[in-house]
């Protein structure tokens, strides 16, 4: 997966590039809108991440330029200004997402993955499986090592999200938004409690702890590497 970042703030650009590269993407960085447009024309990117305030061409104009050249890859805006008009403008221009600085990298990564996943047709899976944890979407049943685990509706939703995106660190805000539809900076303590309760049902008494807290980032469901 190739990603183009157009960001004039050098530090932000470099950190984003490093972070996304380490997350397994191929990342190019352009320092201004004109360079960004040239790069995007020459290569085949799966996603462009555009800063709104850019020297030369601003983010909106770069996106318009891309669309005018028939390039239809998804685009994501980063901005320091959180104005409703900006948001509306971004969506009107066909942006796929909109992140307001300061954002956490975990959030950005999760959203990037969400966008890139969107393109692929999700196969109709009926069961999710990670190690000995199984989740049956049709019968709404969860079992660990063959033993049935009883979950509430929201716990089921939370586990489904973690399993669908296993191996990815999911920030609290993304979990709140996906599972509870709370699309604002809500009390993050709630997610902590919810994950703790889910974890006690899934991992208590198990040798392999699947649900892990990544401090300062969020939560991930995966088989620990050091085992």
């Amino acid at each position: 997966m190739k990603i183009l970042i157009v960001e004039d703030e050098a530090k932000t650009g470099e950190y984003l590039q490093q972070g996304l590269t380490e997350a397994g993407f191929v990342v190019d960085l352009a320092k201004d809108g004109i360079d960004g447009l040239h790069l995007a024309e020459g290569q085949d990117y799966d996603l462009v991440i555009l800063d709104v305030m850019l020297p030369g061409l601003n983010g909106w104009e770069v996106l318009q330029g891309l669309r005018a050249r028939g390039l239809r890859m998804p685009a994501m805006f980063l901005t320091a200004r959180d104005q409703v008009e900006d948001r509306v403008k971004g969506l009107e221009l066909g942006a796929d997402d909109y992140l307001v600085k300061p954002f956490s990298f975990a959030e950005l990564l999760a959203r990037v993955r969400t966008i890139l996943r969107r393109g692929r047709s999700a196969q109709e899976v009926t069961t999710l499986k990670v190690a000995d944890l199984e989740l049956d979407l049709l019968r709404r049943r969860v079992s660990r090592g063959g033993r049935r685990v009883d979950l509430t509706a929201k716990e089921f939703g939370l586990l489904e999200l973690l399993m669908r995106r296993h191996g990815e660190v999911l920030p609290r805000s993304l979990i709140a938004s996906q599972v509870w539809d709370m699309n604002f900076d809500s009390d993050t303590n709630v997610i902590e409690v919810a994950v703790r309760r889910l974890r006690s049902k899934i991992d208590d008494g198990q040798a392999v702890k699947l649900i892990q807290t990544v401090r300062g980032m969020g939560y991930v469901l995966e088989v620990p590497e050091d085992l």
Binding site: D82, V84, M182, N183, S186, D187, N189, A194, R197, R215
Partner: protein, 461 residues
């Protein structure tokens, strides 16, 4: 151009123009009256002489006799000249210095009051003349032609002097009244200057300065009063903003200083990778809190600035509250708190903002309800409003503290500077700002072990 002229200049110019008009009008009146007066005097004199000559000639029995009588009567009159001519052109009498006037200037008439002609003589003297015909008894068939002239030089001189004096007076009077007008305008506008001086003293540091309402004329008192009210509003807004920025600086300083110290201490000597990881994670947590505080502040500033609600729709308050109760379910179960909602109602507004407002109240209620307590949400209609009340059991809050709960960064316990779950102390201010953006009110009460936060939304916001 006139628009930019100072008020003093404008008033002075106006005053001067009025004074000049009055003085000039008066001067013209005096001059015209004098002129007329002299003309009447001259006419009377001329008519007198006409009667005299007519009388003389009426009693003359021959041409010689008439000549003698005329000589006797007229030769001693200074400034009065006459000529009597027979119809055949012989001069019967002619005063010394008589100026023969061109025929065209003379007007013959039989009327008693023959017109008096103002004429200039060929030698430049000012004259008034009267021409008439009179028949003498000794030759009734042929009337004599009489011309009387009067030298009006001294009258003309007097009038010229008068005109000059009047002009000088008018000029002086205009100048003096202009000066007085300027002084009056200057004095009259002094309160305005005083106000200007006061206004110049107003700055961010000195917003307490006020206009001297009692010392300005009534016309300006209203303006001064309005300015004072404006200053009052600005001062309170400014003070709030100032408190806010200093609060903000204070709230940011502690975590930033912690971050800095922790990072520098870590860097001061080599450590295990695990320790670095730990420190970075802790920094990330702290930074996330800071980021959240900043975005909360921005949200608050934007909402309080009275920005329009991004979108408005009618939504079910019950539906939103139920979603929130699901969200907080896990937290409530942890503390064994029973949560319930009752009532319903539709609200016109932004459902996302509504969620955020109620979310803060629920989070607050769950934090303050004791283990095994209760949290209730009541949605009810009150007049035209929809009221959403979040109630929790727990210790009463001091009534003195209640109104301050919605203040930014306000914490009931000042000693507990930061707790993991307490957020930045902005939650309730955000709730209040959201409700106000919907045109509603937020209030708090605490009685008999139940603390209630009530949000009233006007149904047709």
């Amino acid at each position: 151009m006139l628009r930019r002229l100072s008020l003093t200049h404008r008033l002075t110019a106006f005053f001067t123009a009025v004074a000049a008009m009055v003085v000039l009008g008066l001067g013209w009146l005096v001059f015209a009256a004098s002129d007329q007066h002299f003309a009447e005097l001259d006419q009377i004199t001329l008519q007198d002489k006409r009667q005299l000559i007519e009388h003389l000639l009426a009693h003359a029995h021959s041409a010689e006799d008439a000549q003698g009588r005329l000589n006797e009567a007229l030769n001693h009159h200074h400034g009065l000249l006459a000529a009597v001519v027979t119809p055949d052109g012989q001069t019967l009498f002619r005063s010394d210095g008589f100026v023969p006037l061109p025929q065209t200037q003379l007007l013959t008439t039989s009327h008693d009051m023959a017109p008096v002609l103002q004429v200039g003589s060929p030698d430049g003297r000012a004259l008034r003349a009267l021409l008439f015909k009179v028949s003498a008894p000794y030759s009734p068939a042929s009337p004599l032609e009489v011309t009387i002239e009067m030298d009006t030089a001294h009258h003309a001189q007097f009038l010229a002097d008068l005109r000059l004096r009047l002009a000088l007076y008018a000029l002086t009077a205009t100048l003096v009244s202009g000066l007085l007008g300027w002084l009056a305008a200057h004095r009259g506008l002094a309160p305005l200057h005083a106000m200007r001086a006061r206004a110049a003293g107003v700055s961010g540091q000195r917003l307490s300065e006020r206009m001297p309402v009692d010392q300005v004329p009534v016309e300006m008192a209203e303006l001064a009063g309005e300015l004072n009210r404006m200053l009052g509003r600005l001062q309170s807004d400014f003070t709030r903003l100032q408190d806010f920025s200093s609060d903000l600086a204070h709230e940011l300083r502690t975590p930033i200083s912690n971050l800095l110290t922790q990072t520098q201490v870590t860097l001061s000597m080599p450590r295990d990778a695990a320790i670095y990881r730990d420190i970075l994670a802790s920094n990330a947590e702290e930074l996330q809190r800071l980021a959240r505080m900043v975005s909360d502040m921005l949200f608050l500033a934007k909402t309080e600035r009275g920005a329009q609600l991004p979108r408005k729709e009618t939504f079910s308050a019950l539906h939103e509250v139920e979603a929130l109760l699901e969200f907080y379910e896990a937290v409530a179960e942890e503390k064994d708190i029973r949560m319930r909602v009752r009532g319903e109602g539709d609200i016109l507004g932004d459902p996302l903002m509504f969620r955020r407002a109620v979310s803060n109240l629920l989070s607050n209620a769950l934090r303050h309800a004791p283990q095994g307590g209760e949290v209730h949400v009541i949605i009810e209609r009150a007049g035209t409003d929809i009221e959403v009340t979040v109630e929790n059991t727990g210790e009463d809050i001091d009534s003195l503290v209640l109104p301050r709960l919605f203040d930014r960064f306000f914490r009931t316990d000042p000693a507990r500077h930061r707790s993991e779950s307490d957020g930045a102390g902005l939650g309730l201010s955000i709730t209040k700002a959201i409700v106000q953006a919907h045109g509603g009110k937020a209030s708090a009460s605490s009685l008999n072990g139940r603390t209630r936060f009530k949000l009233s939304f006007p149904r047709m916001a």
